[in-house]
């Protein structure tokens, strides 16, 4: 229970999320560097090779943070809370004509509207710095360079054509 709550609150904290992603990626690079060192490379060279093999660290980190943040439980709960507060506000305003209650309704509606707008704004900002359009197509290189693939006019491989035709 405690663990779930802790994870839930971590989702609200963007910096914590970034730190976690960075720690995970850094761990990967350090493990790779250690393996290179075992092969006989010195520390500097090992680290350099590990970084090269990893690819664009900053881009991978951004993608991971974005995927986590966009679909986190925290964001989902916020959306639900804002929607509920908006609907509650509408309900209070329409059902009770008294001045004070109407004010409460207005406040709740405003919370819902502004909260929703903030979430939309956050999503748009995240889309802006999304730099790799096709993350699953990154970095697979054929060793058999001498074997050309039969690309069609759209640049699709035979695999992709078969899948598209299905």
């Amino acid at each position: 229970m405690y663990k779930s709550l802790r994870n839930l609150f971590r989702h609200f904290d963007g910096h914590a999320l970034q730190r976690q992603v960075e720690e995970e990626l850094q761990f990967h690079i350090e493990m790779r560097a250690q393996d290179y060192q075992k092969e006989g490379f010195d520390y500097e060279d090992s680290l350099e090779r590990a970084k090269l093999r990893f690819g664009d660290f900053a881009m991978v980190k951004r993608q991971c943070v974005e995927i986590s943040a966009k679909n986190s439980v925290g964001i989902w709960i916020l959306k639900v809370l804002f929607t509920i507060s908006f609907l509650l506000g509408v309900l209070i305003k329409s059902v009770t004509p008294e001045l004070n209650t109407t004010r409460i309704g207005s406040v709740l509606m405003m919370i819902g509207i502004f909260g929703g707008l903030l979430l939309i704004g956050k999503t748009i900002r995240m889309r802006d710095f999304k730099s790799a359009p096709e993350p699953l197509r990154l970095g697979l290189h054929s060793i058999a360079d001498s074997i050309p693939l039969a690309f069609d006019e759209k640049g699709r491989t035979p695999f992709e054509r078969v899948q598209a035709d299905d």
Partner: protein, 110 residues
């Protein structure tokens, strides 16, 4: 211009990750190493490309993750297959087999 880069078909990396995790839970580096060993240098997967795929798969509910201690006592994030992931692996394996047989037929015909 000759193209020397083989693009991964959508979902191929995910299928390799699912299959790798079917045996045991692993951290990202372990997954990368296992895939690297399995493909025997026929393909070179850029290490970093693994992570967005892992995060996406977790978001889809195919895998789950938990922080733990690695073999060298470092903090590492371990991934394991969920029930939905096992179902996905079964479905994608069948799909992959169908596609590869179809491509072979095309290649053999021409």
């Amino acid at each position: 211009m000759r193209r020397t880069r083989t693009d991964l078909m959508q979902g191929t990396l995910e299928l390799m990750i699912l299959k790798t995790l079917a045996r045991e839970e692993m951290h990202g580096y372990g997954i990368a190493q296992r895939i690297h060993e399995a493909v025997e240098d026929l393909l070179k997967v850029e290490d970093g490309s693994l992570y967005p795929a892992l995060y996406r798969m977790e978001e889809r509910g195919w895998i789950s993750s938990e922080w733990g201690a690695s073999e060298n006592n470092r903090r590492a994030k371990y991934y394991k297959l969920t029930r939905a992931g096992r179902q996905q692996l079964a479905a994608e394996s069948v799909n992959w087999d169908r596609i590869s047989r179809a491509v072979m037929k095309v290649l053999q015909a021409s």
